[in-house]
Symmetry: none
Subunit: 224 residues, 2 copies
DNA sequence: GCCTATCTTGACGAATCCTTGACGCCGTTG
DNA sequence: CAACGGCGTCAAGGATTCGTCAAGATAGGC
């Protein structure tokens, strides 16, 4: 049976979630604050974690970071605020998905299913092909016109992130914190330099990129 | 059968609504003041709430806030006054839609259906489709006629808020404080400019918008 | 120590995006 | 009828952000 750990300090919401999740076949364990939740996560080894950001003792993002330091378990975040700042912070810290309160229980269940589905097969096809080049994620090789393209470690790291999320917009912060670390969140000129190098090596027409698309002010997107 | 909770202190209106709603296949429960209505909402778990603002004991916005603190149930507000102040207050407190008395029963039924449609489909996949365009919230992509539409960060931010709340009337203040920050609450010209740009990019007939609807003096609404 | 590959940093026009004001239209009010 | 407020439209600036280049800085191999 799938094990779920629910972390929330609101006893009513905790009870409601426990009942609903158990009714849908999950094994539920709960925690009401950050410290005990970290213990519970180590002991129960849940398949997915549901975390409320408004905890009494620890900051929500700290809990996420602690968890992420030793476990890849999917984390679904609940928050009362509608603003997008804490959303971005939580996702940057390593959360996988996000719901704003109040939310419908069917929506919660749907997102839970989606997270579990994703964690079961994390690597679909390790080979991505476009009409200009081919990326083999397993072999760490990029081919263009039959010959392989030399990429530096940093170039490869950036390309890998973009290619693993086809069609999806990857935030500047996501790229920076993934490649250079969270403290480089404002060095957007790094991105400009390396995107330019990737384009020069991969795009047929450098000044008219068709696969590495920039979204001004937000981030970049890979289009197959 | 769909459960509706009607909250009103006028016995005649209450009786008329009960009869009409039951005749259209709804299961109706009623309450005549704020306190008993909150109890009834917890016990009956209605699919939608119809709330008259002029209650004897509690302020209407307080009832909305109480409900919203634990439930995402759609709230349809009735009010006698024609002014837009209480309208905006109720919507800011978390109401979903609004009708001014006196109102036609067919209009009430139409709005009820619209709100229920929204609550039945709680964005299982974060993809919203209309007959003119498709919004993918996860990938941050908008498709129209198969091609993707290029949106600026601010345009996307506004569209996301509206699309995440289908059929809901979103206040000007809600949009402004979410996108530009709380101190921009009176710069309604921003809304006019960006709504116009969104319509130009998304609506088939710009001068006759069918999905991005403006409610004069109050706000905007997304209709799927 | 020297050489090479890679990464960092700064600067500059160019492209994109946001802000702001003006104008006309429409429905409502007095 | 005239005045008014809310809305849609447009375009011109000003502010950000992007692409590009090249010159140090750093690290690793020989």
């Amino acid at each position: 049976m799938t094990a779920v750990l629910v972390i929330d300090d609101d006893p009513y919401l905790l009870r409601a979630l426990r009942i609903t999740l158990q009714a849908h076949g999950y094994a539920v364990s709960t925690a009401a604050d950050g410290r005990s939740s970290l213990l519970a996560a180590r002991q129960n080894a849940p398949a997915v974690v549901i975390l409320d950001l408004g905890l009494p003792d620890l900051d929500g993002t700290s809990v996420i970071r602690e968890l992420r330091s030793w476990s890849p378990v999917p984390i679904l975040v609940l928050s009362a605020r509608h603003g997008s700042e804490d959303k971005v912070q939580a996702l940057d810290a390593g959360a996988d998905d996000y719901i704003t309160k109040p939310f419908g229980l069917d929506e919660l269940l749907a997102r839970l299913r989606a997270l579990l589905r994703r964690s079961i097969d994390p690597e679909q096809t390790p080979v991505i092909t476009t009409d200009a080049f081919t990326v083999d994620l397993a072999k760490r090789v990029v081919l263009r016109d039959g010959r392989d393209v030399r990429l530096t470690p940093t170039e490869w790291h950036m390309l890998e992130i973009l290619v693993r999320n086809p069609e999806k917009l990857v935030t500047q912060q996501q790229l920076l914190s993934e490649v250079w670390g969270p403290s480089y969140a404002k060095e957007t000129n790094y991105l400009r330099v390396y995107i330019a190098q990737l384009r020069r090596k991969l795009e047929p027409d450098t000044s008219n990129p068709r696969h590495l698309i920039t979204e001004a002010g937000v981030g970049y997107r890979f289009r197959p």
